[in-house]
């Protein structure tokens, strides 16, 4: 089993299926759907197996303990390698990735779409790219997947998006590409500066890069950032745009509003988490000193995201935009956990990345079902659905509670540990995040009760409850919300070891247990 390149297989599977799809005649929609589901399902099965094997698999001895590592020469002239590997953090992100793409494939299969083959091809290519992002250890490889992901996404959004897709997609693409280009500059800087002259994260980490002397602006002699700090800022900007952190978030609500529901499931479910992953995997490892220096500023932006997203969710009337801003608020929690630079906070961030993927997918599916039945997303025109749709009510209730961080549900685990980490950073952050939790109860209940309770309105007369297929899509998500809330240990048992590695890069003292 160790001779099979599992990680490469994870990338090749969706990409290969995308190529294979071109051989299927367009009118055989069942075959196209079946192949798409098969490819995503096979990926999910492999990831599950990898997660089960990981505890027994011996990790590498490098600065980052990696499992199932694969290294091949890729561009010898540049010393770029094809280096893949996973650890306790990326393993869970991979699981989330495989899960939401499977969900997206199932959601696509449930309804008819025009130009289905092209649509499925693009979805599979997106999966190949996001999987690659999560597996790459080599910076150049990572960058290639990171940018490559945008191509199928762009085509998906500009062809199947909603009314305002044009400006929304343009803003998203230009915004993220601007961020990525900054990151490319920083990657090249690291490549040039690293003594080994390599793009490989492990080789760069093996011999630390000196931060260099700070630029002094000529003539006026003001000391500015060191080159390494500038490189860090480039990385941070790229990831902050991707998450997004307020004030770099304005592409998100418009885009989510224009996004077709099936695409939203994996877009909101995993693409937005890649920024958070980037912070953990690359910013924490490559720039531990800079992260520590700027942690209070970064955490302040995270808290701003939490509060600002919550306030916007409280005042929006469009269902999708409410969920979009709720998502920004939740992503602020994830960012806060990472920026706390504590083991509790980062573990919480990993848990919350998974939780948020589950919750936001469920919420967007529910919003999609409501819109499909009533023809509107305006909260003011909707009410009284509970009596008409008892099953939807139940699933939505659980998702709402998970979304507002109810103890006993999955997101409580993440928010508790994240806020604990934030508390260790400074109690003010934890208290402000607590204010975000209270606002979350407010905006989630506003959304939930607004849709479900009060006497029905014209739009909500005579709507039908969920079909079995729709219910079966939501049921596993809702079950996971409850299960993780009651038994989060399996997740953290896998992630703790890797988190400790990252934290020890920053604060060597923190790895010593028993501090009093």
């Amino acid at each position: 089993m160790n001779h099979i390149p599992w990680l490469t297989l994870l990338i090749v599977l969706p990409a290969g299926a995308a190529i294979l799809l071109q051989l299927v005649p367009r009118r055989l929609t069942a075959v196209i759907k079946g192949l798409t589901i098969f490819a995503t399902l096979a990926g999910a099965v492999i990831v599950t197996l990898l997660l089960l094997w990981m505890p027994g698999n011996k990790a590498t001895n490098g600065p980052l303990p990696l499992h199932f590592q694969e290294t091949h020469a890729w561009l010898p002239a540049l010393n770029a390698t094809y280096h893949l590997g996973i650890d306790g953090i990326s393993a869970w992100l991979l699981a989330l990735n495989a899960g939401v793409f499977l969900l997206g494939a199932l959601a696509i299969a449930r309804k008819s779409t025009d130009r289905l083959r092209f649509y499925c091809t693009l979805v599979l290519l997106t999966e190949a790219a996001t999987t690659g992002v999560l597996l790459s250890i080599d910076l150049l490889l990572f960058y290639m997947f990171w940018e490559g992901m945008l191509v199928p996404l762009y085509v998906l959004l500009s062809n199947w998006g909603g009314v305002k897709r044009g400006p929304a997609t343009l803003k998203f693409i230009v915004y993220t590409v601007a961020g990525s280009l900054l990151m490319l500059v920083a990657i090249i800087y690291l490549y040039v500066q690293s003594p080994s002259g390599s793009f490989d994260l492990e080789s760069i980490l093996a011999q630390p890069i000196s931060s260099g002397s700070a630029f002094v602006i000529p003539l006026i002699h003001v000391t500015t950032f060191t080159p390494k700090e500038l490189a860090f800022i480039c990385f941070a900007l790229a990831f902050a745009i991707k998450i997004p952190i307020v004030p770099f978030h304005t592409w998100l609500p418009d885009l989510y509003e224009a996004c077709p529901p099936a695409v939203l499931v994996f877009f909101a479910g995993v693409v937005s988490k890649l920024g958070a992953y980037g912070f953990i995997r690359f910013a924490l490892t490559l720039f531990p000193g800079e992260m520590e220096k700027y942690r209070f500023v970064l955490a302040a932006f995270a808290v701003l995201s939490i509060i600002y997203g919550a306030l916007m969710a409280l005042s929006e009337r469009d269902l999708k935009r409410i969920v979009a801003y709720a998502s920004i608020s939740h992503l602020g929690f994830i960012a806060l956990g990472i920026f706390s630079l504590t083991d509790n906070g980062i573990n919480g961030a990993v848990i919350q990345i998974i939780n948020h993927g589950i919750i936001i997918s469920a919420l967007f599916l529910i919003v999609g079902y409501v819109e499909a039945r009533t023809g509107t997303r305006d909260l003011g025109e909707l009410s009284g659905l509970e009596r008409r749709m008892p099953w939807l009510y139940f699933f939505f209730l659980v998702a709402t509670l998970a979304g507002l961080g109810m103890p006993g549900m999955n997101s409580f685990v993440g928010e508790f540990t994240i806020m604990l980490g934030a508390f260790q950073l400074n109690w003010v952050y934890a208290v402000l995040a607590g204010g975000g939790v209270i606002l979350a109860a407010w905006y989630m209940l506003r959304l939930h009760q607004g849709l479900m309770h009060d006497p029905p309105k014209p739009r909500t007369e005579g709507v039908r409850d969920l079909r079995i297929g729709e219910g079966l899509l939501l049921a596993p998500l809702v079950a996971m919300m409850i299960f993780i809330g009651l038994y989060p240990k399996p997740i953290t048992d896998v992630s703790t070891g890797s988190v400790n590695t990252y934290v020890s890069l920053i604060q060597p003292a923190a790895s010593n247990p028993g501090t009093q």
């Binding site: 978030h249 103890p407 409580f412 604990l420 501090t515």
Partner: protein
Amino acid sequence: MNVSTASILVLLVLLFPLAGAALNGLLGPVFGRRFVNIAGTVSIFASFLVACLVLATVVGAPSGHGAITVRLWDWINLGGGTNLSVGMDFTLDALSALMLMVITGVGFLIHVYSVGYMEHDTGFARFFSYMNFFIFSMLTLVLAADLVILIIGWALVALSSYLLIGFWHDRPTAVAAARKAFITQVIGDVALVIAAFLIVLNTHTLSLPNIFARTQAFPAGGALVTGVCVLLAIGAFAKSAQFPLHTWLPDAMEGPTPVSALIHAATMVTAGVYLIARFHVLFNLAPVAEGMVACVGMGTAVMAGIIALSQIDIKRVIAYSTMSQIGLMIYAVGIGAYSAGMFHFAMHAVFKALLFMAAGNVIHALHDEQDIRLMGGLHARMRWTHLAFAAGSFALGGFFLFSGWFSKEDLLGFGTLSGPGPAPWILYAVGVGVNVLTGLYAFRLYFTVFQGEPQTARGFGVKEAGYPMLIPVVILGALSVIVAWPLQFPLPNTLHVFSDFLSPVFAGSQSPLLHDPSFGLALVALVIGSAASLLGIGLAMRLWYEHRPDPQVVLASLPRVIPLLSYNKFYFDEIYDRALVQPVRAVARTARRVVEPDVMDSWVQGIGELLRGFSLDLRLVQTGLIRDYASIFTVFAVVLVVVWVFIAR
């Protein structure tokens, strides 16, 4: 009792109500009303039987071995410097056994009552599902032996309360009340979570027994332990509807009456008292926090008592009475009289559940009329309900030898023992005043509703409630007379079965605010307290018996400001609306209308516009004339040379 027996008991007591909730929710709509009635009540009765077993094992255990903690599974284990390690831990001891008995015992009777009350409601399956789920949540809360698990139970209780307040989800008032209650609870949850952070960062554990064993981490009277206790108290205030987080409770009366009896009188709202009693080890180290708790409790008791005097909705009168009585319990645990507080909790659960259910009978009989000005003369027409309500009123009013008398006098007797300084005496005097108030509002309600003549035509034709609604009321009516007799007498060194039962829990540490009891002082306090209660009842009788003025008229003789404050509930709803809700809404609106388009997005668009403008301008450079290109070339060459010579050397 060994660990495996204890695990089985814990699982059984929890799983019966949970199974009931699942069965009713999933199968109830299919199998119909009879199935739901049976599944809903039997599950709680089974849980009650297990609770009796727990009680028997705790009582029967040799001294010092009455408490046992079991772990069902590991919840999380992060290790590291903080050692965040949480397990699904549950504890069986005297305190949790007492709570189990009250929750499942009173809860079972209320479930039986609900069978009658919800007879004509189409949502019966949902109702019983939620009610069973509430019992499960409440049991989780009181059994939890780890702070995180306690917080989970704490929030689940709030969830069931939310679901049941908003049970009639077509009523906008009920929906709003449910939301208000839930958000208030979340405020309390956040306070508890932050308290948990302080605890785990200083003791490296969240398991309750371990926290209480590591008190060396908390210097007595220090800022740390005071902060922890104040945060815990905020959580308790939110749950127990104490000032300043009390405004949700009266609105919660929008729920069906059995809900008010079970959740908003007998069990959930007393969870704050339980929490402080459970954390008594920490509170005993923080006299400042204790004093704060005692003041808030007594303050709420007075405030709610005054409000209860002028309300005209039968359920709201009882709700404010509940708030006032819980204020007394909070006061008791604040001054360190933990078993007295728990005793009043148990007695109050009995007579307040009774009052609510009897009120429900009245409301039912009058076809959903809740305005007491339109009631009256029911004593002859609803004889059993009347008798039970009278018993409950006497117990609430603290009439000699009724259950409320034992517990309230016991509680106030401790007030004379608290010290130091004059502040405790002021609180005690206020407590005596609360006794007068209690007699007044309890019997104002009783006389207005049951005595005199019916005020509407409908009042002449009322019929007594059916058996499912009557039997629980009568049982609780009998209990509210006799239940205290074998348990406790409010004088030291007399009868103290109840406090002996709880003493293993509270014996370990003693509040610095409490002196040793003295018989003489207690006797004097007993006489004063009883006289105050009698005074209140007598005044009520004089004011409302037979004369039957407008129920609000008595306050009119006082300075105008008091009736105004009382009737308007001290304007808290208005103040919170203006000071908190509206400002947050305004900020949110501003964020959407101004900040998002004009600040957050404008700089992004601005960069775009800038680049566009720049490229438009740059286009003009391409003139196609050689001389223009040559001059640009020359200028840049000169600039580069200058830079190279003067700066980049």
